[in-house]
Amino acid sequence: MTATDLRPARAAAVPAVPARPRRRWRALPALLFLVLLAGAWQLMAVLLDSVLVPGVPQIVTELVEIVADGSFAEQLGITVLRVGLGFALAFVVAVAVGIAMGRNEFARRFFEPAVLLGLTIPGLVWALLCVIWFGIDLVNPVAAVALSSAPPLMLTIYQGTRSVDPDLLEMAHVYRFSRATRLRRLWLPALAPALFAGARLGLSLGWKVIVLVEVFGMSSGVGYQLNNAFAAQNVAAVLAWTLLFAIVMAVLEYGVLQGLERRTGRWRKAVSV
């Protein structure tokens, strides 16, 4: 082969990197919001002077106690396990059903009523039904989380499947990619944005439902502790448990989901110049 005029230009090898704010300043707006929120809350607590609205120092004291005596880690572990199992079950089923709905008209018509019905049923109803059906067994929270988070996951995966480039499917067909290769190298990466959107939606519903299930029918977990604090009219403890729960959600979002999303979407940042 002659190397005279067939060689590509080198210019495009290095992707353009847009200027980004320095790392240490990126969290500043969120921190500012939290400080203002704490300030406003404290002002409200001082003005109302009620046991129903504890001040920030009281809430922080309660929060430190919960963390220090080890009950938070223990109860959170139980709740996270329940949500994790329920969400994993929902995820596996939703990927299979969502892709089937996007690829097959019969499957779409078959599952569509179930998805729409699932979307309209409040999490509270799933929590109550699962407590009635499964009692205090582990199946109860797992089923409740799976039933509430699967429908939105299915819907987003179905919509994602419809947007997968059919040209790529034809390419995979003519080159005879195996089913496993298609799933791993084509479907899952192409569906990544839908999977992350679905995971966020599904997890947010799962967290809400697990608290309800633990309030109604369990004797452990963050929801159970919230219920205890409520029964004791300890508003500071209710807020402290809620805050800790929110912190864990933030860690999951910023530490896990966004990290995974950045990792799977690296190629999007590599753009031609």
């Binding site: 082969m1 067939l6 990619f177």
Partner: protein, 247 residues
Amino acid sequence: MSEPSAAHAPTTTRVRLDGIGKTFVDARSGAPQQVLADFSLTVEPGELVAVVGASGTGKTTLLHVVAGLVEPDAGTVDIGRPRLGVVFQQPRLLDWLPVRQNVALALEAAGLDPAAADGTLAAVGLAEYAGSYPTVLSGGQRQRVAVARAFAVEPDLVLLDEPFSALDELTARKLRLLLQELWMQRPRTGLLVTHNPLEAALLADRVIVLAGRPAQVAAEYRVDRERPRSAEDPHLFDLHSRIVAAL
């Protein structure tokens, strides 16, 4: 890409289409659109046939029938089960995988050594981009990857669906020469559909001109020129003029 060797035995793949018919239903009006009717074509082993026609004459449908992407309503497709190398109009790369892996996946699926991807990319002048994502490549470079993928799998049958029509003329010229070189290294059975008469004359052993709807063979030309051919060859230019006249 390796030099011709004993392992690269002359291809025996023959394409035989007999009485092919295909009708699509217009999504908007619901009216049937007959694209192909009683269409027959034979591509002999080692022959590269170009099908030239204006847009909408059913060229791509014809190629998709051969590739097994479209089921004909009538007629028979007799090609056996050859290993295909296909270059589409668009590169159709998996943008989330590095260039090397795009080629390696096709090799893996064909039961070949994925490590051969690097050699193939070097042959199309993209060795230094093997680890890059396709998104950093220009349109011409992306199409080179598609060409590399098609030839890396040591195909029995190469299908080229207007492979350079989405590129600027300068890039398209370079890629036509590249394709010609690859073909000279190891002739295969091939089908090229294009609306570019000069491309057909430069690359093919035989040119079939389609016209009308449903498509009919308006003319057929054998290109009796040894490779490598030049786009400046007066004989090819004359053939180009005759193809244009037949369109």
